[in-house]
Structures are given as structure tokens and as C-alpha cells.
């Protein structure tokens, strides 16, 4: 009969859990909380080896209920969290981290700092790999908070410094914050992962103290280390850093080139294209055309006037100079089977003309060159433009008509 009892207990546990879930999904937090008090009994016989045992359930569901329950207070939340921390040794650090996040999201920075420091001093037996990682995270977050207090004090000092007044104790405190932050931040960014916030803060610290070499090294490591996930942000940070420090065009271009290879649809591609177009080297101008064509392949760029004007400008330049028409031809070749439907349909001509005249102008120019003057898009837009007697459309029509042989060379 003990077996039967156990089965029933298991069953009622499951039923209770489903009630809680049901109540939560219907936003009946009070009801969920009441069932939750019953569910706490399931801890009594928690021998489960399941992925998520009752104690973890109670922690997660309880947190969720306390977040939305109308009568819950921060005090209650804190005491619940303290109870949860003692419930499972393996989960202690995780609970601490989540607790700190909750405090941070509610603007309780000092309390969060305290929680993190407490967690950091916690020791229990031998550390597992997971605990090691969690400990690193806790330290990193404490470092992040140190960074924030550092930057607060920095701002105070800068303001006071303008008055010609120096406060030694503030300055000392600021430096100690720097040291604490730097140590912890440095540790976490050695571990492969996505650490955008930490990297940014660490670089800011280093830059303030003039350690550009180290900062650059950190950013390069973060961007180029193959153990880290491919992260476009890392390249953006590097590019921004190089730009801030007035690095050469060449290094800027090489940073953006890699970004282009990873994410051809990145917003910085417009900057990249303008940079390349200005270049005197043929190869770079060629790359510029490639970059802007590739960016316009993406659905998110379909109505980006800036990008279209970049492309239109470069196409116009190539056509008027009549040099490197093969560049356009090459780019167009891989797109001729789908760009007409994707960018230059009659429906889009109508809509672009109604919604964004300058977009339709730029697109019509490109369409007129690559598809000829008889293409639907160009025909519709130039007709409407001439009908509305907009000067630039009349010039556009003349331009495309004049260069109609170009179309034959591109399409041929």
C-alpha cells in the first residue's frame, strides 16, 4: 500500500502543478499562490531525478507569482528568495544571481550589490564547472556595478574639476572602484561567450586611464577569437574604437570588411559603402558596389532610401564614366532572376511613388539602367514623375534614355 500511496502522492503533485499552471496562465495570481502553498508539501518526498524537480519548480513558479501578485512586496520577495537559497545547494548561486537581477530591475542597486557580494563569499565543498561559471558571472555582475559607481564618481569629479575643486577621498574611492571592476570584468571576458556589456564597460575603464593598447587588444580578442560565438557587435565595438582613436582608413575598412562578411545587412554598411566609394583604389570601389548590392538583398533594406541613393549614385557614376560597366553586370547577373520581382514590380512602383517619392526616384534610376527603359518600374515612375512635372524625374528620364545602350551591355 505504500507503493500506492506514493503513486497517489505523485499524481496529486502533478495535478496540483497543473492547477497552478492553469491559474497562472489565466492571470489568477491569488489562486495560483494558494495552490502553491499546497504544492510546497511536495518537497517532503522530493526524490525526483527529473530535469526540474519540485524545489526548482517552486523557485521558478514562486518568483513568477510574486512578480505579478498584487499584494506582493519587495520584502516578501526577498524573504522568499532567501528561503529558496537554502533549499538547494546546487542552485544557490543561480538563485542569488536571479535575485540580484530582480533587485537591479527594480532599481535597488545597493541591495543587489550586497546580494552579489554575499554570494561571492559563499563556499560549499568542491566547485563544479557549472558553479565555477556561475561564480564568474556573479563576480562579473559585481564588477559591472563597481563600474557604475566608478562612472558616477567620475562624473562628480569631472563636474567639480571644472570648478577647480578636487576631492581626494572621492578620487580614491573612484580608483578603488576601478580596481575592483577591472579585475572582475577582465576575468569574465576571457571565457568564450557573448559579453557585450562587460566588454564595453571594461574598454571604457581602460580608455579612461589611457591604456589604449590593452583596450584594443581586448576588443580584437573579443572580435577575432574563434572560440567566441560569431558576434557582429564585437566588430562594431572594434570599429567604433578605431574610429574614436583616429586609426587609418585601412584598418577601419578591414574591420568593416569582416563585419560585412558576417552580417552583410548591418546598418554600418552604408558608412562602409561611402567610405569605399570615396577611395581612389579601383578594388575598393568595386567592393563598395558589392557591399551596397548585398545590403539591398535583404528584406529589411527594401525601403531604405539612403541605401538606394548610395547604389544609384555609384551606378550613375559608373554609367557616366562608362568605365567598369562589367562590375554592374557581374553584380546584376546573380540577381537578375529575382530582383525584378523583389524590387522592381509594378505594384512596388505604384506604392513607392505614393509613399516615398525620393525612394522611387533612386530605385527608378537603378531599374532604368539594369533593366532598360522599358521596365515596368522605371516606366511607371518616370511617367508619373513627368506627369507631376517634377524636374528631377524629367532629368532622370533623359539620363536613362541617353544611356540605354548601357542596358544592352549589362544584360547581354
Amino acid at each position: 500500500s505504500s507503493h500506492k500511496h506514493k503513486l497517489n502522492f505523485k499524481k496529486s503533485k502533478e495535478v496540483c502543478l497543473s492547477y497552478i499552471q492553469d491559474a497562472m496562465l489565466q492571470k489568477q495570481w491569488k489562486r495560483a499562490a494558494e495552490f502553491m502553498t499546497f504544492y510546497a508539501e511536495s518537497l517532503e518526498k522530493d526524490f525526483s531525478t527529473a530535469y526540474m524537480g519540485p524545489s526548482e519548480m517552486i523557485w521558478r513558479i514562486g518568483t513568477e507569482i510574486l512578480c505579478y501578485h498584487s499584494h506582493s512586496s519587495m520584502k516578501q520577495f526577498n524573504s522568499f528568495m532567501e528561503q529558496m537559497k537554502t533549499l538547494g545547494v546546487k542552485r544557490y548561486l543561480k538563485v542569488c544571481l536571479e535575485h540580484a537581477f530582480h533587485l537591479l530591475c527594480n532599481g535597488l542597486i545597493d541591495e543587489a550589490y550586497q546580494t552579489l557580494s554575499l554570494a561571492e563569499s559563499w563556499r560549499f565543498g568542491e566547485q563544479t564547472a557549472i558553479q565555477d561559471k556561475e561564480m564568474k558571472l556573479i563576480q562579473a555582475y559585481r564588477g559591472l556595478l563597481d563600474y557604475y559607481s566608478w562612472s558616477k564618481q567620475k562624473n562628480i569629479l569631472l563636474e567639480h574639476g571644472q570648478d577647480g575643486f578636487e576631492d581626494l577621498s572621492v578620487e580614491q574611492e573612484m580608483h578603488s572602484c576601478f580596481r575592483k571592476a577591472a579585475v572582475n570584468l577582465k576575468e569574465i571576458i576571457k571565457v568564450p561567450g557573448v559579453w557585450d556589456v562587460f566588454v564595453k564597460c571594461y574598454v571604457d575603464l581602460l580608455e579612461f586611464y589611457g591604456d589604449h593598447e590593452e583596450a584594443c587588444q581586448v576588443l580584437k580578442e573579443y572580435a577575432y577569437n574563434s572560440k567566441f560565438p560569431s558576434n557582429p557587435n564585437a566588430h562594431v565595438y572594434l570599429y567604433q574604437f578605431l574610429k574614436r582613436h583616429g586609426e587609418s582608413k585601412k584598418s577601419l575598412i578591414s574591420a568593416l570588411k569582416i563585419l560585412h562578411d558576417i552580417v552583410p545587412s548591418h546598418e554600418l554598411m552604408i558608412d562602409f559603402n561611402t567610405m569605399l566609394q570615396k577611395s581612389k583604389k579601383r578594388k575598393k570601389r568595386r567592393l563598395g558596389l558589392e557591399v551596397i548590392f548585398a545590403a539591398l538583398d535583404y528584406a529589411g533594406w527594401k525601403e531604405n532610401v539612403k541605401a538606394w541613393s548610395c547604389l544609384a549614385r555609384q551606378v550613375k557614376q559608373i554609367v557616366t564614366s562608362e568605365k567598369h560597366l562589367d562590375w554592374i553586370k557581374q553584380e546584376w547577373n546573380s540577381r537578375r532572376d529575382w530582383w525584378p520581382a523583389f524590387h522592381f514590380s509594378r505594384y512596388l512602383a505604384k506604392r513607392n511613388w505614393q509613399e516615398n517619392e525620393s525612394l522611387s526616384y533612386e530605385k527608378a534610376l537603378v531599374a532604368g539602367i539594369v533593366l532598360g527603359k522599358d521596365c515596368k518600374y522605371f516606366k511607371y515612375v518616370s511617367h508619373q514623375g513627368c506627369k507631376a512635372q517634377v524636374k528631377r524625374f524629367q532629368i532622370l528620364k533623359k539620363f536613362v534614355n541617353k544611356h540605354s545602350p548601357v542596358y544592352l551591355r549589362i544584360s547581354g
Binding site: S18, Q21, D22, M24, L25, Q26, K27, Q28, W29, Y51, E64, C67, Y68, S70, H71, F101, H102, L104, C105, I109, L137, A140, Y148, S151, K152, K154, N155, G193, V194, W195, D196, V197, F198, K200, P229, S230, N231, P232, N233, V236, I262, V263, S265, H266, D297, Y298, A299, G300, S334, D337, W338, A341, F342, S345, Y347, L348
Partner: protein, 805 residues
């Protein structure tokens, strides 16, 4: 700039969408034609002792193989025994009589064997059943030659099919994506959209139906209908350049329709492809008109363009990241019109259609990067392009992930959905600037439906380190919300008879087969219409209304904020339920319910004299009358007339049988002493003399028993009588049938003071055989009836006393 703001990855208060009704409402009439209940686990699993025995050893399910194989012989006897049966039928004798001597040499009598088999059938489930020796002998004798189908291959086929069916019961991925699509109105603010859904007995008809969005959405006109060659598994739709392209997947065929932009324009079929292996996925490109992607169980991923045809991007029966047995493949579009995402149970990859071998990258991997659990598998990927051009949704049986293809492998968002069945359907409703994007997740077998809201941030960083950094991270806003399932409307339907209730429960509980949603803007009032399709082909809908964010009240107002949905359906909804039920019972060939309960004319039971008020009515009499009236006024059933609860049970006056009994009193007295049935038999028996004799006997008995009769005895017997009668009355008797007509159970004694009985002369017209015929009395019973009715006319008040009494 250093002012730190922390935003949780999950939390905050989302938009408030409250259900407008108590349950889902039928949107279309029930899918026509008789519906076959879907397979249940009981149909293929062993039951009873054997199951327990089989399961004691191992944990797996025990499939009832022998029963299924046996079903073949029962269902297809012609195929199994056809020619041998013909050969042998002269030598097998199935009759009851003895065999003639000359036939005995060449014929066997099989009757006994048949009886044994019948008896075996009756003892089914009995743990102590043993095969009769005769059966054992027969099966030994005929095992090798009686049936013509080779048993080995047949058994293999049955076994394979059984395993397939069982796997389908455990998890059926064929409806992934859902077979319901909503084509929104052509311009914002218009109210005429279109619903695309499958229907028909085999779910092989495709319908395009105009829908007017109103308080309760309704269909307009008749739908455009196409008959297809197989069950429709999935309907996918996307709008490109103002035109809708609808892809339809069945097991071996995929088709694409175009619905032009003009309102009321007819949909045109464009192209159909046939696949040699079942297709598992069909998605429509949101970028290019007439472009779709198809996957099949052979591991092929194809880009299908209506103009240029099929282009195979990949053909790999192996899964991508680790070995998994499932042949399921999925593919969807990405931000780049030439790059397709391609999924199996282990993860997602992105392929460039221009160079699929060289250019690909991993988008999602079931594994440590995403923090997956053991056994976690991809269930449904979806491109979220309408909300953010580079984001994808991936659901597994445990969690939901939002991924950005620019930062692959690291999920932007992860949430454990805790649904009981894996979500097979998803629908995205992008929100405008400043609004949240809404995602609906639906499961098939449990009909679960969840509404989630998420927001995409730019230039914000999140507190959780594993999210994608400062660009385009997203946040799950507010708690997820459960919507009504189709089955939840059962409790709001009118009360049904138990077997009909059961059928209805089965029908409404069939697994879901699709999900669609429409956003309706009515000035400031926004509402969300969620359509649900069941595997039986029924379409239900529910409405959620948006409560615009009000300034937060400082008081405890928020306690009232989570308004429960209305408990009772509105009258309009109730009307829809009733109509739907009516159409369902009509469509499924059930006999229509009689408009009124069968009534019994009281003329046939009592004469007017008998019913006339006595000169001095007792209080009991008055009460009885009043209750009778009330019951009649309520339209209740007289037989089930229970004593009023408030009224204490008054002790009954003792019965004092009168010497001379008129027929009515005799009947009532008989009823009182619980042998009314016998009285009836006697009354209707053919032999009048016998009857009279019996009457005399009975009277004698009664006379003898007169002294013994006490109140308590009569009281208990009256109680049992009443309960017997109420059981009896469940089968409504028709008037004038020879069965016992129902009688009013009384509260008091028979009216003693009623005038001496003089039974009415039977109506002559009533007795004519013509009138009996037109009342549906069968010919052989007419005489009985006439005899019976004649009794009333005879008026035998005093049968002659037998001598010697």
C-alpha cells in the same frame, strides 16, 4: 549616459487582451458528413490481464497485435477464406437439424463449433477462459491451409501499421504548421477578409470563404471550393505585392493558389507538384510572388518557384547535428530572399539557394549553446519576418526560443512554455511601433492555445548575459495567457442525453489541426479574432478585446484587473451553439429529436366521470391535483413526479379494500399491492374464462389477506412500485399499444368516494380496424386490443362467486 537601466528579459506588463466570451464559439457549421472518431489508445493497446502481464516486464506500450490480425479475418473474410470457403461449403453443415445418413460421409456438422465460439466471445475478458478442446482440435487441423493470405507478410504489414498508428498517437507531426490560414483585408480598416480551411469527410476539400469582421464574425456568400486528391495537412499563406499566395500540403501533393488583390476575386490554382515521399513542410515566401519551399520525408529541401520550377537545395536523409530517427524536415524563408532556413529535429541551418553546398551557417543547434535539456527536439520553426526582418522563432517540446540570424546559435530569448503537448502551430501578429508583437502557440492533441507578447529592443542591453548584446535583443512582455480551447465550450452547450454528450465530447475533443488569427480595428477598439480548426474539420473562433493601458491606479484597483472571462456565453453565442448542435445532429444522420415529448391522451385512461371532482375533495386530493397541474404547467414528466422536498411525507391512510371493485379501483389496488403487472397480464390474456377465474382467485386471496394488511407493508410496497415504474417509463410508450399504459403514481389512496365505476363504452370508431391501423397498431395485435377494450364495455361488476367459497 552612465545611468544604468536594467530591463528584465521577461516581465513587465504587456497589453491587456481579455476574452470577450466564455468559450470558443462555432464559426462555421459543423463539418458535413458523418465523422469518424479518431483513433484512441484503447483501440490498439492490450486491455485487461494480458496488458498488466506484458507491462510488468517492460515499460513500453503493449500493442494488441492479435486483435488487429483477427480483425482482418473478420473484416475481409472473402479475401481470407474466399475460394476455400467455396470449395468447402458443401462439406460444412451449419444447420441445427441432424445430418441425413447419406450426407454424413462427406459433411461435418459445425454447429457445435460455432456455439463454442459464441460462448468464447461471451467469456471474453474472463481470466479463467480456456480453449475448448473442440476449438483446439479445429485450429490444429486447419491452421496451415484454411486461409489463403500468406500469414507472415500479412502479420508484418499489420505490425508495421500498428507501430505507425501508435507512433502517430504518441506524436503526429503531419499537421505541423496547421491547415488554417487567414487572408487579412486588402487595406487596413476594411472588414472583409478571407479564411482558407479544409473540409469534407476526408478533409480533402479546400475552401476560400469571405469573412465579415463584426462583433461575431460571420461568413459571406458561399465559399470557393476545390476538391483535392488527399487529406489537407497544411495550409500556408503569405502576401506578396498585395496578392495572397496560398500553399496547400497533403501527403503526396503540394499545390499553390493565388488570391488576387481585388475584393471578391476568385482564387486561381497555379501549380501542383507530386512527391514520391510524404511532404512534411510547405512554406510560402513573403518576399517573392509564387515562391515556396518544400521538404519531404526523404530529407529533400526544395525551393519551388511557380515559373522556374523546383530547385533542390539539399538531399540528406541524415539529420544535421546528431543522429535522430525522425524523417521530419522543415524549411522557411529568412531576411534574404535567396537564403532558406532548413530544420530537422536537431537544429536549424541557413542555406543559400545560389550555392547551397558551400554557403550555409548554423542558426540553431539543440545543445549547450541554447541551454537545451536532454531529449529536447525542434518541433516548429517560424520566420518572424513581419515583426523583425532577421528574427526566427523555434519551439521545442519544452521551450521557445527567439533567434536572430545575425547572431546565430545564441538565443535572444528562451522561455519554458510548459505546454502539455508540443506546440505544432504558431501564428504571429506583428504590432506597430510602440506595441508588442503577439505570438499564438497551439498544440494539437491537447488543444492548448497560448498568447505571448514580445518586444524587440534596440539600443538597450539586458541583464542576462546570454542574450545577444546591445542590438535588437528582445523581451517577453507580461505573463503568457491561455486562450479557450474548442473542448472548453462543451460545458456551455445545452444539456444532452448521455450518449450524445459522449459523442459531442469526442467530437469537440478531437485534436486541433490549425490556427489563425485576425486583428480587427474598430476605431479605438481593437480586437483579436482567433480561429481554431479541429481534425474533424470544425472551425471555432474566439474574440479577445484590447483594453488600452489606463493610468495606473494607486489603490488596490489591480486586484480587479485580471478579469476572469465571462462565465456564461452571451445570448448570441448561445444561439450559435444551439444552431451548431442542431446542424451536427442533422448532419450525422441521427434521428431528429421529437419536437414534443410523447403525450398521452387522458381520455384513454380515465373517463370524465372518474376525473370529475368529487363532491367533497379531501386535502390530499387537492394537493395531488395541484401538483399535477404544476407539473403539467412546467411541461415535466408526470411519471417522475417526485414529492416536493419541502412537504413532509405524510403518512398514508390505510388502504381498505372495498368489496366491490370497479375496474379502475381494481387496477389501482393492484398497483398498490405491487402486482399491477400481473393484473395487466390477466386483464389482457386471451382466455376470458381463465382471466375471470384468476380474478376470482385473487379476490379470494385479497379477502384472506385483508386482516394482515398493515400500513407499513403497503407503504413500502408503494415505494418499490414507484421506482419500478420510473425505470419503466424511460421507454416512452405509445398510446393504445398493448403494453401497460403509464399510470399516475398517486400520493393518496384511490378516491374512495368516486361514484361506482361504470366503464365507458368503447368508442365504436376506436375499435374499427381501420382506425387501429392508422394508429399504427399491428394487425396481429388488433384483436387483443379489441378484446381488451371490449372488456370495458362488458361491465362485469360482479363475476359469479365460485361455488364453495
Amino acid at each position: 549616459q552612465t545611468e544604468a537601466t536594467f530591463v528584465p528579459r521577461r516581465g513587465g506588463t504587456g497589453e491587456s487582451w481579455e476574452p470577450a466570451d466564455a468559450a470558443a464559439v462555432p464559426f462555421l457549421p459543423p463539418n458535413a458528413s458523418c465523422w469518424i472518431p479518431s483513433l484512441m489508445p484503447e483501440d490498439v493497446l492490450y486491455r485487461g490481464v494480458l496488458r498488466r502481464k506484458l507491462q510488468a516486464g517492460k515499460s513500453g506500450a503493449a500493442l494488441d497485435f492479435t486483435k488487429q490480425l483477427g480483425n482482418f479475418f473478420v473484416d475481409h473474410p472473402e479475401d481470407a477464406f474466399g475460394s476455400l470457403g467455396q470449395l468447402l461449403h458443401k462439406n460444412f453443415y451449419l444447420g441445427n437439424s441432424k445430418l441425413r445418413r447419406e450426407a454424413r460421409d462427406s459433411t461435418i456438422r459445425m454447429t457445435a463449433l460455432r456455439e463454442e465460439i459464441d460462448r468464447l466471445e461471451a467469456r471474453r475478458g474472463c481470466p479463467r477462459k480456456h480453449l475448448a478442446p473442440r476449438l483446439r482440435w479445429f485450429s490444429h487441423l486447419c491452421r496451415d491451409w484454411l486461409f489463403e493470405v500468406p500469414l507472415g507478410p500479412l502479420a508484418d504489414c499489420v505490425h508495421e501499421e500498428l507501430l505507425l498508428q501508435w507512433a502517430g498517437l504518441l506524436f503526429d507531426d503531419s499537421p505541423t504548421g496547421g491547415a488554417l490560414a487567414w487572408l487579412p483585408p486588402k487595406d487596413m480598416g476594411a472588414r472583409l477578409g478571407r479564411l482558407v480551411y479544409p473540409g469534407g469527410q476526408a478533409m480533402n476539400h479546400l475552401y476560400f470563404h469571405d469573412v465579415v469582421l463584426e462583433e461575431l464574425p460571420r461568413t459571406r456568400g458561399s465559399p470557393a471550393q476545390f476538391e483535392l486528391n488527399g487529406r489537407i495537412r497544411q495550409v500556408a499563406a503569405a502576401r506578396v505585392d498585395g496578392e495572397d499566395f496560398v500553399g496547400v500540403r497533403s501527403d503526396y501533393h503540394c499545390g499553390v493558389w493565388r488570391v488576387p488583390g481585388r475584393t471578391g476575386a476568385a482564387p486561381t490554382p497555379l501549380q501542383v507538384i507530386r512527391t514520391s515521399m510524404p511532404a512534411s513542410c510547405l512554406t510560402v515566401s513573403p518576399h517573392l510572388p509564387g515562391e515556396l519551399s518544400v521538404c519531404t520525408h526523404s530529407g529533400a529541401v526544395c525551393l519551388w518557384n511557380v515559373e522556374t520550377g523546383l530547385q533542390r537545395l539539399r538531399h540528406d536523409p541524415q539529420t544535421m547535428f546528431f543522429r535522430d530517427h525522425s524523417p521530419w524536415r522543415w524549411s522557411d524563408f529568412t531576411a534574404h530572399p535567396r537564403v532558406l532556413s532548413c530544420a530537422d529535429r536537431t537544429g536549424l541551418q541557413c542555406l543559400d539557394a545560389r550555392a547551397p553546398e558551400r554557403c550555409h551557417f548554423d542558426l540553431f543547434k539543440v545543445g549547450e549553446e541554447a541551454g537545451c535539456q536532454q531529449g529536447e527536439r525542434v518541433v516548429l520553426p517560424m520566420y518572424l519576418g513581419r515583426a523583425h526582418p532577421s528574427q526566427h522563432l523555434v519551439t521545442t517540446q519544452f521551450s521557445l526560443y527567439v533567434l536572430d540570424e545575425r547572431l546565430p546559435l545564441v538565443p535572444m530569448l528562451k522561455w519554458a512554455h510548459m505546454m502539455k503537448a508540443p506546440p505544432l502551430f504558431a501564428h504571429l501578429m506583428p504590432g506597430g511601433p510602440g506595441r508588442t508583437h503577439k505570438v499564438l502557440l497551439g498544440a494539437s492533441h491537447t488543444q492548448e492555445l497560448l498568447l505571448l507578447q514580445y518586444r524587440v529592443f534596440t539600443n538597450q542591453f539586458l541583464t542576462c548575459p546570454s542574450t545577444g548584446g546591445s542590438r535588437s535583443a528582445c523581451q517577453l512582455v507580461g505573463p503568457p495567457q491561455k486562450l479557450h480551447s474548442i473542448a472548453s465550450c462543451l460545458q456551455h452547450l445545452p444539456v444532452q442525453l448521455p450518449h450524445r454528450h459522449h459523442l459531442l465530447q469526442q467530437r469537440l475533443g478531437t485534436p486541433a489541426a490549425g490556427l489563425a488569427a485576425a486583428l480587427q480595428e474598430d476605431g479605438p477598439q481593437e480586437s483579436l479574432l482567433v480561429f481554431q480548426l479541429s481534425e474533424a474539420g470544425d472551425v471555432f473562433c474566439q474574440r479577445l478585446t484590447h483594453k488600452a493601458a489606463q493610468p495606473p491606479m494607486p489603490t488596490a484597483e489591480d486586484e480587479a484587473a485580471p478579469q476572469p472571462s465571462p462565465a456564461v456565453p452571451s445570448p448570441a453565442t448561445a444561439l450559435r451553439y444551439r444552431r451548431w448542435l442542431k446542424a451536427l445532429s442533422k448532419g450525422c444522420g441521427e434521428p431528429p429529436q421529437p419536437a414534443r415529448p410523447p403525450t398521452l391522451s387522458q381520455k384513454r385512461l380515465f373517463t370524465r366521470k372518474e376525473l370529475a371532482l368529487p363532491a367533497d375533495p379531501s386535502t390530499l386530493h387537492g394537493q395531488a391535483r395541484q401538483q399535477l397541474r404544476q407539473t403539467m404547467w412546467e411541461g415535466g414528466c408526470i411519471q417522475r413526479w417526485a414529492p416536493l422536498a419541502s412537504q413532509p411525507c405524510t403518512p398514508l391512510p390505510p388502504v381498505e379494500p372495498v368489496g366491490e371493485l370497479d375496474p379502475l379501483s381494481a387496477r389501482l389496488t393492484a398497483a398498490w399491492s405491487a402486482d399491477w403487472g400481473q393484473w395487466w397480464e390477466e386483464r389482457t390474456s386471451f382466455n376470458m374464462a381463465q382471466r375471470q377465474q384468476a380474478l376470482r382467485e385473487r379476490r379470494r386471496r385479497q379477502k384472506r389477506a385483508r386482516g394482515r394488511r398493515s400500513l407499513s407493508a403497503s407503504f413500502t410496497s408503494s415505494l418499490t412500485y414507484q421506482s419500478e415504474l420510473s425505470e419503466l417509463s424511460d421507454t416512452a410508450p405509445t398510446p393504445l399499444s398493448p403494453g401497460p399504459p403509464p399510470v399516475l403514481p398517486r400520493e393518496g389512496s384511490p378516491p374512495r368516494s368516486s361514484p361506482p365505476a361504470s366503464p365507458p363504452p368503447p368508442d365504436e370508431a376506436l375499435l374499427s380496424s381501420q382506425s387501429l391501423r392508422c394508429r399504427g397498431v399491428p394487425q396481429e395485435r388488433r384483436k387483443t386490443l379489441r378484446d381488451y377494450l371490449a372488456l370495458w364495455a362488458e361491465d362485469p361488476p360482479e363475476p359469479p362467486e365460485p361455488p364453495g367459497s
